[in-house]
Symmetry: C2
Subunit: 433 residues, 2 copies
């Protein structure tokens, strides 16, 4: 670090440089919160702002944030685990069953089309098989938080279309994580064999299914027992211990840690302590999750991204990413609702795409330009959705959104996702402070 | 690590071993919560149990927790900062003024007597000047959280005696931190000169006074501005950024980071957002603070502690620590209340004593036996107080304690401090889950 910053951050005697770390953490939290709030002002999700804050703090611009710093890397890893735990905690597997075949069809088509398209585009731009697979995988998963929030703001969350999008996004999340485990295994060097891919996929699916099945027997009695302990924070601490252990086990059995964290969330979703846990984990998320997004942003090399090759790849990926999800909305041909609305609502990739990209860099299969192109794809798909959905629908039926009446998704959604600008002035803004 | 544990914690490819760290963190959180809850069952403060959990996990027994591990060390450092921030946030400087001269007299005597006695004892046991100073300093500060909670459980918090103890403990806290900064400077090798001691003390006092004075102008408008930002967690994140920056500045101007964190708490105590911040920071405290106590416990070398020399030193320190505070209760000769009650309530040393001990080890001036003796002093003084106070007073006047009606101290106190056993069965247990 040669930034002026460094003058304020001389190493303490012995051990890690805590004052320097505190200043970097303070800069990361302040910048992500500030740019995140600015993003919200223009009707965009906070995650976009946090990513931009990371790009600004990173080596391309200010050079304050070193994405290789081991302690911050660890905090960022904890951040992804907490994020995926929160997503799992909010995910109602029953919702998939309720909206049934339509959602499943949209979900499958919305994974297959962008994956195939992304693979083809990346190969056409000269990427190796494994690089193309990572890029393709990053195209698959819709950001459930962003979709849900925008639909809620438009008052469409309770409609058939809204429920289909939620169901398909949940399916997306689960499948996206399975793909992550498979591609992660490949990127780590297992080689692309049918047997290898099948094994990794089975482990990932088996882990989620097993965790949820077993969890019903383990989690309820466990949480019921600790809920009786008269010491503050016992339920929350038990939940986070559960997350850490499940994530470590997932890594041990050859799957991804975030699969474990997500599964832990799915399991605890079914306990009566769910809302207490959600509330308790919120401030941990506020501190750790932005560190992850900022570290991803800091990894972006604007020079590498500005090459014509990277710009071309980025533009092609954006086209395929948008087209794949929009067409997927039309896949359930028998459905008589607003198919374009469904497709557009599935477009934002958000945090899951970023996790893929980060994994690709860590595994060494995404170079600067390819990484930049994937980040651009995530940012553009997330950016275009709120105004596009706003243009497709009229104002909310009752004059305000219903997003905040859907209690289950509130916390996650109010943090991660945008409000739609055209209707801002006339809308109530509940529970955002 | 050669524990069976290690089998589960093989390094991930590249970067820190996250799964292993997750398992260690999970073990620390589970063990501190479990033994902490057991401590509470027998009417003792949770902090005692967390310390015991650390001793069990450390090298002396299970060998699971390595007190030198850099990431855990960093998390523990964040834990102390969050703890001192919470203490500052709960501290009402006005209280000192209200109970006036009596509290000040108790506070001064309660610092001078144990400091002088501790220094004499340590020197008699052959300690060097700097080691004796660190040991003496660790004897000074009463644990405000533990005292307040026990008095509350006995229904004596609102009495003259209760208010005097709180006022004296607040004074203790501030002075203890000043002593920490001075002794910390000495331990880091500045040498014991009158000029050096005076400078460091002036910096520490100046920092607290300056921060509180400036803070009134800066913190209120800042918090008022961010409170208007409609993004979840803005107030909490701003508060923690404020803590980190203040702590880093304190370190930069030659004081201790925890002085900065404490000063940040004092400043934010005066803002209308205080309760929101308290609530927000609670779960961060639940995760980070036990890591600190566990790391201190893990540092304890039971073999070194079991030497006759260390046991003799420990016993002598306990005697001086108890006698010093009890006698201090009688220092305001003109006060006509229950002087013994005041003195006994000042006995528990709790977390501040641990911070001194930890600092002594880090600076290399406390050897295993001396460190163990200080830890024993902290544990015994904390352990004897609840039953002793219970024996001195009758049952609470109205049949239950008033601890929980004193809203300001609740969160901290309900976490850090014990209930008094003799009256457990007949007492309501509000707000502990």
């Amino acid at each position: 670090m040669t930034a002026p910053w460094a003058l304020l951050a001389a190493p303490a005697s012995g051990g890690p440089d805590i004052p320097g770390l505190l200043l970097t953490l303070a800069a990361v939290l302040a910048a992500t919160k500030l740019v995140g709030a600015l993003a919200r002002r223009i009707g965009q999700p906070a995650v976009l702002g946090e990513l931009v804050a990371g790009i600004l703090l990173g080596g391309s611009v200010l050079g304050v944030l070193d994405p290789g710093e081991p302690v911050l890397k660890t905090l960022a890893e904890l951040g992804v685990l907490i994020l995926l735990f929160e997503v799992g905690l909010e995910t109602d597997l029953q919702a998939l069953r309720r909206v049934g075949g339509v959602a499943l069809t949209v979900g499958v088509a919305g994974i297959v089309l962008p994956f195939a398209g992304g693979y083809a585009v990346a190969t056409a731009f000269g990427a190796s098989t494994i690089t193309a697979l990572v890029i393709a995988a990053a195209m698959t998963a819709t950001s459930i938080g962003i979709s849900a929030r925008v639909l809620g703001d438009l008052g469409r969350l309770k409609t058939d279309e809204g429920q289909i999008v939620l169901g398909a996004a949940v399916f997306d999340d689960v499948m996206g994580l399975v793909i992550l485990a498979v591609v992660g295994g490949l990127a780590a060097g297992t080689g692309v064999t049918v047997a290898g891919v099948t094994t990794t996929a089975l482990i990932a699916v088996g882990f989620v299914v097993g965790a949820v099945a077993l969890g019903a027997f383990v989690a309820r009695p466990l949480m019921a027992a600790v809920a009786r302990v008269p010491v503050a924070g016992t339920v929350g601490v038990t939940a986070i211990v559960f997350v850490f252990v499940t994530a470590a086990i997932a890594a041990k059995v050859g799957s991804a840690m975030i699969i474990g964290a997500f599964a832990a969330g799915l399991v605890l979703h079914g306990t009566p302590q769910r809302h207490e846990i959600e509330k308790w984990v919120t401030s941990l998320g506020h501190v750790f999750v932005p560190v992850f997004f900022a570290m991803v942003g800091a990894e972006v090399d604007l020079r590498a991204m500005a090459s014509s090759q990277a710009l071309g790849l980025g533009a092609a990926l954006v086209a395929v990413a948008v087209a794949g999800k929009v067409i997927a909305g039309f896949a359930p041909w028998w459905f008589r609702g607003h198919k374009l609305l469904v497709g557009v609502a599935m477009v934002p990739r958000g945090e899951v795409g970023l996790i893929f990209a980060q994994m690709g860099v860590t595994a060494g299969v995404l170079a600067g330009g390819e990484f930049g192109a994937v980040i651009a794809m995530v940012m553009v798909t997330t950016f275009v959705t709120p105004p596009w959905l706003g243009a497709l629908t009229g104002p909310p039926p009752d004059g305000r959104g219903d997003g905040d009446s859907d209690s289950g998704l509130n916390e996650l959604v109010s943090e991660g996702a945008p409000q739609v600008p055209p209707r801002r002035a006339t809308q109530a803004r509940p529970r955002l402070s």
